[in-house]
């Protein structure tokens, strides 16, 4: 773990706190799913928290974020209130999308969090358009577009990269390469090999690879990528290597994966890894981190209480917000 910039203790500890919040939030989501409080598909981000937290810490409030269906981590790291996030999962009117979107469709326009898109690759063209709007309006915004390795094989990957590069749009294409598109390993689905970031070369998009298990590495890589785009140099392609600790969704018993592979990645769990870093560098004490864990726990429990107590959307909401 390399620290190139001088970050305050508060900042560093907040990264820890946010990763822990996402982890705890989703562990409890899994339980709420088993209890039937959460319906539909539930795709957990557990194992990938360093990416959302590292990336969001490098963005400005005016930057746009679009992502895929595994979107809880991105939303929470972008500052969405866990109560509002949990209420959305519970299908309550107090949810971020007023109960209309669910797990795969979190939106928070007030934070320029422009949504979770549940069709693989579908968010890439939308991100290009947001970046186009920023460029045409002369705004210094950057759009960060998360996608998984499954999206590499959608035509939209090519279409979006090509157009963003042709038009030099301020977009960071952020690949969260967790090696699996649902249950299919990248080696069986993507012909371009493992160093996917090199695909950027073909589109003349500068690219880099970063360690998605290291929150500080992700932050630094994102800072460089975003700065490139913000300076008007066009898109940047960032690949973070990571691993999904759970199945694709709650319905997935993960029978297609090698246990040794799983264990090798779990050793690199971003949260204990960062905890060790904080302790070894005397940035925080174990007491302080335990206190944070307690607070995070309380915050998640409060979110569940809030979601549980919130009302369902009223019947008339069925026909609301179809048209502006």
């Amino acid at each position: 773990m390399q620290l190139q910039e001088r970050l305050t203790k508060t900042e560093l500890v907040s990264f820890y706190r946010q990763m822990l919040l996402i982890r705890r939030f989703e562990e409890r989501c899994a339980e709420m799913y088993m209890l039937g409080k959460i319906r539909g598909f539930l795709h957990l981000y557990i194992g990938e928290e360093a990416i959302a937290v590292g990336c969001m810490s490098a963005l400005r409030p005016e930057d746009y974020v679009v992502t895929h269906y595994r979107d809880h981590g991105h939303a929470l790291a972008r500052g969405m209130d866990p109560k509002v996030a949990m209420a959305e999962l519970f299908g309550k009117v107090t949810g971020c999308s007023r109960g209309k979107g669910g797990s795969m469709h979190f939106f928070d326009a007030s934070r320029n969090f422009m949504g979770g898109y549940a069709i693989v690759g579908g968010q890439l063209p939308v991100a290009v358009g947001l970046a186009l709007a920023s460029k045409m309006k002369g705004e210094p915004r950057v759009t960060v577009c998360f996608f998984g390795d499954g999206a590499l094989n959608q035509g939209e990957f090519h279409e979006a990269f090509n157009l963003a590069s042709l038009w030099k749009l301020p977009v960071v294409f952020f690949l969260e390469n967790n090696l699996y598109g649902m249950g299919s390993h990248i080696d069986r689905t993507y012909a371009g090999g493992r160093d996917v970031f090199k695909a950027g070369e073909h589109y003349r998009i500068p690219a880099a690879q970063t360690d998605g298990m290291d929150v500080l590495a992700v932050r630094e890589a994102t800072l460089r990528a975003v700065e490139h785009a913000r300076q008007g140099n066009g898109p940047f392609f960032l690949e973070a290597l990571t691993y999904r600790f759970r199945g694709h969704s709650m319905a997935d018993p993960v029978e297609y994966r090698d246990r040794a592979e799983e264990e090798a990645w779990k050793v690199r769990d971003p949260i204990p890894t960062f905890q060790r870093y904080l302790l070894e560098n005397a940035i925080a004490t174990l007491t302080e981190l335990s206190e944070i864990a307690r607070q995070v726990n309380d915050e998640v429990e409060e979110a569940i209480r809030f979601a549980d107590a919130s009302p369902e959307p009223p019947p008339e909401a069925l026909y609301e917000d179809i048209y502006a």
Binding site: K100, F107, A109, V128, G129, L132, A324
Partner: protein, 325 residues
Amino acid sequence: MPDLTLREAIRKGLQEALDNDPRVFIMGEDVGAYGGAYAVTKGFLRQYGPERIRDTPISESVIVGAGVGAAMGGMRPIVEIMTINFSLLAMDQIVNHAAKLRYMSGGQLMVPLLIRTVTGGGAGLAATHSQSLEGWYASVPGLKVVFPSTPADALGLLRTCLKDPNTIIYCEHALLYGVRGPVPDTYYEVPLGRAEVKRPGTDVTLISYGRGVHLCLQAATELARRGVQAEVIDLRSLRPLDLETPLASLRKTHRALIVEEAWPMAGIGPYLGLRLHQEAFDDLDAPIAHLCGADTPAPYARNLERLSLPDVPAILKTVAEAFGL
């Protein structure tokens, strides 16, 4: 009141929008240097420059998706999809994203995107280039679909569409670009969801949109020679769909024929027919008739294509068979 072609009317509407609203820009395949596949945007590139008249690669998904994103980002994009057949490549962006973002975000987002596209058959382009898919899009909540048949409506509807904060599919029939008609000099708009009686009559109602309206008007002229007064209704917009105008007509004529180029199943015609039956059953002297495209892919051969599309003789034949008129 000058006469304009439908193409000129659309050009006028687009130019007005580009002149009056800096958020408006046009993007699509060959809309710039080439001048548009159907010459609608000819000369625009020189007039407005490449920032606002954007030639894109042949990449329908990112064209529409970039339109969705740009609209969410505060611009007023007009996207041209060269023909509605190619919109299938952008179906995900249109149906899953443009149409749904407002709903799924609980009202947080707006997608004020205008998608212009060319539709219809009759030009010998065979099965992949002759489809009338407007009814598919009209079936999607969250989208609006308009389809002008006259230059005046084309301009009036375009003005309204560009003030509407939703995603709209604006359909242009390939064979109507040269149709000429009076267009008022004074500013006017045509509201969405309001059909128009293009010719009043008392004996039978002919309901259509786009090119079908012209066929119905010709048929009505022929029917008048036989002493039958046909009322011709132009739907103009398929979603929102005006039921009141056809219903008022039905209550007068007691007979209706719906004419469209689309296939017989699962289109706007069958839906409209069902609704009219439900609402006006007691007023009907006969079941509502439906004349549509053949239930086949569009053939290339001239004779087969002619057989596959509604025409004036087919309208007259259907009116005679269904209503004895």
